[in-house]
Symmetry: C2
Subunit: 643 residues, 2 copies
C-alpha cells in the first residue's frame, strides 16, 4: 500500500493477534470478500492458518445481511448476498481489531435502511464547499481526477461501516459539474463507479435543474415542457449506458440562488416529475432536497420566519410526487446549527418517502478544528418526538417513512481523511447509525476508539468520556439556548453575534437591551403549529420547552428565571466561562493519553486543541461582552468583560 500510516488507516488499522492465524476459504460467490478478508488480516492470513474462515452466501439471509458463527477452529461468515458477505467480513475484522473473542460467537445483522448515503460537496475545480480536510478526492481543474489506489482505500473505509451510496459532486451544481451527466465526463465517472462497485457502493449524481438549457440548448427548463421531459429521458439513457447501477440523481432546486420549478410557477412535485419519469425505467430514484427558504429576506420583515419555509413548500404536496422521488430533508428547520428542533416535515408526510439529511462536515460545529461529537447530537435528533408515543427513530426503516439516511461528508485529501483525527469518529458514527439507528453514542464512540486506538481501558474510558462531552462543551461557548447563527458570515467559524442580524438570510435573534429571541409560538410566527399536537404543545409552553431550545421558540427577558434558578443572562455568562474550562480539561485529558498512540497522531490532535482553546476564549469573550454591553447587567461572579 502507498500509505499505511496510523492516521491514514483510520479504523482499519493492523490487527494484532498473538495466538491465531487464519486460513481464508470461500465458495464461488466469495471471491472479493476473500480478497478483502485477507487484506484486512494482513500477515495473519496464511494457507496454514490455525483457524479456518469460511466465506459463503446463502439465500435465506436478507440482502446486505450476514451471520457470523465462530468456533475455536473455524469461523463461518455467511452473507445474504455478496455485499452482505463483505459486511460480515468487515464485522469479523472489526471484532478482531477490538480484541473480541470470536471462538464462541454467533451473530446476525442486517441494515435498518437500504439507502445509507454520503453526499460530498466537492466542486469540480477540486475545492470542497464546507470542506475542512483538504481538497477533493475526486476532482481537479474541472475534471474527474483521482488516485485509484486512494479511492479504493476510501471505498473500503466506507464499505467497512456500511455506506452503500455516494454522491461525489456538490449539490450546488455549476456549469462544469452539470456536465457530469454528459458524454464528456461520463467515461471518467464510470471509472470511479467501477472502483466503488465491488465494495457495494453505488453512485448518485447531483444535477442542475437547468440542465436542459445549459447542456441541451433548449430554451426553458420548464418541467411541463415536452422537450424538457424528452431531454431528461435521453440524458438519463446516456448516463445509464455508462453506469448501469447508478442510484439516481440528487437535486437542490429553488434554494439559495439555484434555479428551480418555483421560478417557473411550477410546484416542486411538477419540477421533479420529468426527471423521476426518466429515471424510472432504470430503477433510478431522485433525491429532492427540501432546503428551500427566502434567502433574500428583508431583516425588517418580521412576518416571514425561515424555519417555516420547507413545511410550507412541501407539506401540501404530499402524495403528489412520483413514487421514485425521495424528499431529502435536513434534520432541522434551520441549517445544521448546534441546537435546533427536528424539522416538522419529518414524519408529517404520509405518502412521500423521506431521506433525512445530517451533516458530518462540521460547518457550524467547529470545522474540524474544534472537537464535536456529532453522535451525541444525532442521538437527540433520533429521540426527537413525532407524537407522544413515537420518536423519529421509530419511523426510520426501508418500509417506514424515513427510508434513507444521508449525510454531508467530512473528508478530503488530507492524510488522515478528516483534518482532525478525532473527526473520523463522526464519519464512523454516521455510517453505523445509518446501519442501525438504535445504537447509542457511547457504543459508537467506544467501538470507534477500540478499532482505531485499541481497547486499553486507560485510553478507552477517558477518551470516550471526552468525546461524548465535546458537544456539550462546544455548545456552552457557542450561541446560547438554541438561538444559533451567531457566527462570522460566510465562513461560519468564530463568533459574530450580530453577524447575520441585519442580513437577508432569515436568521435573527433580535436582541435588544431587555429581551432576546423570536416568538415562534402560535401567538408569534406560528412555527410551532407545523408540528403535531404533542410536539407543538411541548415547544409552545415555556414550562415544557426544553431549556436548551428556549430561545429557538420564545422571546424572553434577560432576567427570565431558568429552572435552575439562574437568570437567562447569568446562564449565558456562566456557560461561556464553563465552555472554555471544558476545553482546558480536554487538553489535560489528551496530554495524559500520549503513550497510547503514535506521537504524530497525538501531536496533530494537540495542535487542534490549541486552536480550539483560542476559539472558545474568543466565543466566551465576544458573546459575554456583547450581552454585557447590551444589557448593562454585571456578572454575579464579577468576572472580566471587555469594553
Amino acid at each position: 500500500m502507498k500509505n499505511r500510516s496510523f492516521m491514514y488507516q483510520a479504523w482499519l488499522g493492523d490487527i494484532e493477534n498473538k495466538t491465531q492465524t487464519f486460513k481464508v476459504v470461500g465458495d464461488s460467490t466469495a471471491d472479493f470478500a476473500m480478497e478483502e478478508c485477507k487484506h484486512g488480516l494482513g500477515n495473519l492470513a496464511t494457507d496454514n492458518g490455525n483457524v479456518t474462515v469460511n466465506l459463503a452466501t446463502a439465500e435465506n439471509l436478507p440482502a446486505e445481511g450476514f451471520s457470523i458463527v465462530g468456533k475455536p477452529d473455524d469461523i463461518t461468515i455467511t452473507g445474504g448476498d455478496k455485499i452482505g458477505l463483505l459486511y460480515g467480513v468487515y464485522k469479523f475484522l472489526a471484532l478482531l481489531r477490538q480484541n473480541i473473542d470470536t471462538t464462541n460467537i454467533s451473530l446476525n445483522d442486517k441494515p435498518t435502511v437500504d439507502k445509507r448515503i454520503l453526499n460530498h460537496w466537492d466542486n469540480i475545480d477540486g475545492s470542497i464547499e464546507r470542506g475542512y480536510a483538504g481538497n477533493s478526492l475526486f476532482f481537479r481543474n474541472d475534471q474527474l481526477h483521482f488516485d485509484a489506489d486512494r479511492l479504493r482505500d476510501y471505498a473500503r473505509l466506507l464499505a467497512s461501516v456500511g455506506i452503500n451510496q455516494i454522491c461525489l459532486n456538490n449539490v450546488n451544481v455549476y456549469l462544469e459539474s452539470a456536465k457530469l451527466i454528459t458524454e464528456e465526463k461520463l467515461p471518467d465517472l464510470a471509472k470511479v463507479a467501477d472502483i466503488f462497485r465491488p465494495f457495494g457502493i453505488r453512485l448518485i449524481i447531483a444535477v442542475h435543474f437547468e440542465s436542459p438549457v445549459l447542456l441541451g440548448g433548449i430554451k426553458t427548463a420548464d418541467p411541463l415542457d415536452e422537450k424538457v421531459a424528452e431531454w431528461w429521458q435521453n440524458a438519463t439513457k446516456t448516463v445509464y449506458k455508462y453506469i448501469p447501477d447508478l442510484v439516481g440523481f440528487l437535486m437542490k432546486a429553488d434554494s439559495e440562488f439555484r434555479s428551480g420549478p418555483a421560478s417557473m410557477g411550477r410546484t416542486q412535485a411538477e419540477g421533479a416529475r420529468p426527471i423521476a419519469k426518466a429515471l424510472k425505467p432504470f430503477g433510478g430514484v431522485i433525491y429532492w432536497r427540501c432546503f428551500i427558504y427566502n434567502c433574500m429576506q428583508d431583516w425588517r420583515d418580521t412576518e416571514t420566519d425561515r424555519p417555516k419555509a420547507a413545511y410550507d413548500y412541501f407539506y401540501p404536496l404530499d402524495g403528489k410526487f412520483e413514487d421514485n422521488v425521495i424528499l431529502q430533508v435536513k434534520h432541522g428547520p434551520s441549517d445544521f446549527q448546534v441546537r435546533e428542533p427536528n424539522s416538522p416535515l419529518l414524519g408529517a408526510m404520509q405518502h412521500t418517502p423521506q431521506n433525512m439529511e445530517l451533516q458530518i462536515t462540521q460547518e457550524y460545529t467547529g470545522q474540524q478544528k474544534d472537537l464535536y461529537a456529532l453522535a451525541v447530537q444525532w442521538d437527540e435528533v433520533l429521540e426527537h418526538p413525532i407524537t407522544e408515543t413515537q420518536t423519529t427513530r421509530d419511523i426510520i426503516g426501508t418500509d417506514n417513512k424515513i427510508i434513507a439516511l444521508s449525510a454531508v461528508a467530512n473528508v478530503g485529501d488530507d492524510e488522515n481523511w478528516t483534518g482532525h483525527l478525532l473527526a473520523q469518529a463522526n464519519l464512523y458514527a454516521f455510517a453505523r447509525l445509518a446501519w442501525n439507528p438504535k445504537q447509542t453514542p457511547k457504543q459508537l464512540t467506544q467501538e470507534w476508539i477500540a478499532c482505531t486506538f485499541g481497547n486499553n481501558l486507560k485510553l478507552l474510558e477517558p477518551l470516550t468520556e471526552m468525546i461524548l462531552q465535546s458537544r456539550a462543551v462546544y455548545e456552552k461557548y457557542n450561541a446560547p439556548l438554541g438561538i444559533g447563527w451567531m457566527v462570522n458570515i460566510h465562513h461560519h467559524y468564530g463568533p459574530s453575534v450580530d453577524g447575520y442580524e441585519y442580513m437577508k438570510w432569515g436568521t435573527y435573534h433580535r436582541a435588544d437591551t431587555k429581551e432576546i429571541g423570536v416568538d415562534r409560538t402560535a401567538a408569534g410566527t406560528g412555527y410551532t403549529t407545523q408540528y403535531q399536537p404533542y410536539v407543538r404543545d411541548m415547544y409552545e409552553n415555556l414550562t415544557t420547552c426544553p431549556q436548551d431550545m428556549l430561545l429557538y421558540f420564545h422571546r424572553l427577558p434577560y432576567d427570565y428565571k431558568l429552572k435552575e434558578g439562574k437568570t437567562l443572562i447569568q446562564h449565558i455568562y456562566d456557560t461561556h466561562f464553563e465552555g472554555v474550562e471544558g476545553v482546558e480539561e480536554f487538553i489535560k485529558t489528551w496530554d495524559s493519553l500520549k503513550d497510547f498512540m503514535p506521537q504524530v497522531a497525538h501531536e496533530s490532535v494537540k495542535e487542534r486543541f490549541v486552536m480550539q482553546l483560542e476559539n472558545a476564549k474568543e466565543w466566551r469573550d465576544v458573546v459575554n461582552s456583547y450581552f454585557f454591553r447590551k444589557t448593562g447587567i454585571a456578572d454575579e461572579k464579577g468576572r472580566k468583560f471587555y469594553l
Copy 2:
C-alpha cells in the same frame, strides 16, 4: 476615435462655438501641443481659422507653467517647457468648453507642487483592489495588457488636469507584479511609459520589499545586508535602462501582512536606504507609505490605539531617511473614513519630505454607487490646522513640507471610466487641487460641470448644489459623529455596526448600553498628544472639539447634550432619517435635469441613485435599530425602528 460617447469623453467633450474657428501655429517646441490643440478643437481647427492660436515655449516661465494672452484675432499660449505649453493648451480648451470669452484674457499659471500623482491599485490579474469601475486598464492575466488608443485617451484625460506621475500597479505587490522590475515585464511596461511620456506623465512602480528574495534568490531582504543593497542597485539599473525617466518606486512595507524592515528588526529608515541609494544615481525617488499599524490587534486590548501607530513609527525617524525618500502619509490616521482628523504626522516631520495620500476611489464613501463629493472633504483636510496660524494647505508646495500630493485612482475600463458618471468630478477635483490646493470645492465642481455638461445655469446651479451637499448627506446616514468603521467587513459597502467591533483591525466603537466611543485624550489613549498644542487642545476639549469629530476623540453617554441642544442619541436618529431624505431630494433634482444631457447619461446616474436610496435606507434602519436595541431610548419623534 474609437469611442467618442458623451460619458467616455468626460470633461474633454466637443467644443461648440458659433463664431470662432482656429488656425493653430507653433514653433519647433510645440509639435505635440499643436496636435493636442487641434485634437481638442476638432472641426473648429482649420487652416483658414479666424483666430490664430500661437504656441511656443519661453525660458522666462517656470517649468510646467504657462501663460495665455487672448486678443480678438489671436491667442498666444506660452509654456515654461513643452509640458507647460501642453497644460496651457488644455487650459485654453477648457475655457472654450466653458464658453469663457478668450478674446480679452491674460493669465499665468503654474503648479503648487511638482509631484501630482495617481496611484492605481490595479492587480496584475486585471482586477482592481477597491475598484468600482470595471477592470484594469493596464493588466490582464499576469501581464501588461492594454488598448493603446484607450491609454492615450486616458493619458490626455489626466494631463488635461495636470497629473504628471502615475503608478499602475497595486501597492499590495505579489509575486507576479513584483516582476514588473525585471526583464520579463519591463519591455511591455516601457511601452506604457512611451504612451504617457508625451503627455508629461511619468511612471512609478510599486515594488515588493522582499524582491531580493522573490526575484533575486537571495536568502534575505535585510536592508543592512550588502547583497541586498547590491541586488537593488542592479535591479534599478535594469529598470532605468528601459524607462530612463521613471519617477521611482512606491513601497508598502510592514503593513497589513506585507513584509518590511520591522520584521527584521530594522527601522523604516534603514529599510528604505538601500533602495533609495539605488535610485539616487538616476534621480529617482522612493515613496514610502506610512500606513503601518497592528492589524492583528486583540480587540480586548484597550491599550493599543491604531490611530497612534504611524506617528509612533515614523516621527522618531525624522531626519534619518535618505534625501530621496518621500514619506507617503494618508491624510487621516485611520483609513479614508468619511470623517477623521488629519494625521499628526503631517507637518510634524521637519526634515523629511511628505506626500499626502488621498483616496479618490470611494472605498468607504459609497463605492461609486453613492454620490459623494470628495472635494468637500478634501477642502476640510486642507483646512485642518497644524498650529493656530497654519493649516495643512499652508505647508503644501515644492519647497515646503508636503512636496507631493497623491491619490488612489477611481478608474477602470468601464465606458465612463469611473462607474458613476458623477464620480468623474472626484478625479477632476483631485487633479486640480494637486495643481492648486487653494481652489474651493465650489469652483472645482462648477468647472467640472461646465466642462462636462455645459454652463447652462439651469443645470449648473442645482447640480453644483447637489454635488456639494452629497458628502454631508452621505455622512448623515453613515457612522455618526466621526466614529467610522460601521461597515460590512472586507468589502466595506453597507452598514454593519459591530462588523469590525470584535475583529483584529484595531477599529472599535465599544458601544455599550450607556456610552459609545474611545477616549483618545491625554487621559485616555493619549492620541491627542501627538498633535501640536493648538490642535491637541482643540480635540482634547469637549467644547472645542468639532462636533462631527466628537466620537473620534471622546467616549460619551447617549444622553450627552450637543451644542444644538439635542442628545447624542437623538442626533443619531435624526441625521439618519435626514440622510435618506437628502437622497430623495437628489433624485428629484436629478429628474429635473433630464433635458440637459444625453438620455444614456441621465439614466446611468439615475440607476446609481436607486441603489444609493436603498443603501441609505439600509444604513438608516440598521444604525437606528442597532442603537435603539442597545439603549432602549425611543425616538422623540416616534419614528419606526425594527426589532
